[in-house]
């Protein structure tokens, strides 16, 4: 069972930004190749996002695995929904599905392109 405080914290994060990336490290200093790859995709798409460094929050790290039934990081959320990890985000980016998902959900892209 996920600790209620962790659930509240996750809901707060997901409510605070359209796009949230739980990752190892920070967008400026990713500390894992998979996390860095997703940061790169998001910057190519030009979508603003909130990066959360789970290496600094072990409770959040474990809680997220149970909360989303997803065992690894990074984890990308759009409008509170899990989109996936590095594999899925990369696959969707290459097929254009990520861009159409963002547009469909009313999330602005091409902001810093």
């Amino acid at each position: 069972m996920v600790d209620q405080n962790v659930v509240e914290r996750i809901k707060q994060d997901l409510g605070s930004s359209d796009v949230v990336l739980y990752m190892k490290g920070t967008p400026v200093f990713p500390q894992c190749g998979f996390s860095a790859a997703v940061v790169q995709v998001l910057s190519h798409v030009g979508v603003p996002f909130k990066g959360v460094n789970i290496l600094e929050e072990p409770g959040l790290r474990q809680g997220l695995k149970e909360f989303s039934n997803w065992p690894t990081f990074p984890q990308l959320y759009v409008k509170g929904e899990l989109v996936g990890g590095c594999d899925i985000v990369r696959e969707m980016y290459e097929s254009g599905e990520l861009q159409s998902l963002l547009t469909e959900k009313g999330v602005a892209t091409g902001v810093n392109a």
């Binding site: 039934n69 065992p71 996936g84 990890g85 590095c86 594999d87 899925i88 696959e91 969707m92």
Partner: protein, 79 residues
């Protein structure tokens, strides 16, 4: 800790009986694999759900014993 490709394949097939599994050891260290899993059971499911099915078949090893599995899932054409 590392895992054998054959073990990964067996676990996935035990969990998803009709799955066709192709595994590549990306770095030869038993810790970084790529896998293509094709199954009719994925039909109608989102990518996240398909990957979750594979992770469930791996019985909690994903992210622990198995550090990295670059996973691609697919539905067979005739499904």
């Amino acid at each position: 800790m590392a895992m054998e490709a054959a073990t990964i394949e067996k676990l996935i097939k035990d969990g998803i009986p009709d799955a066709a599994v192709e595994i590549a050891d990306l770095r030869g260290d038993g810790d970084h694999y790529a896998a293509l899993v094709t199954s009719a059971a994925f039909k109608g499911k989102s990518r996240v759900q398909q990957h979750q099915m594979v992770y469930a078949a791996l019985q909690g090893r994903m992210g622990g014993e198995l550090h990295a599995l670059a996973l691609t899932t697919a539905v067979p054409d005739n499904a």
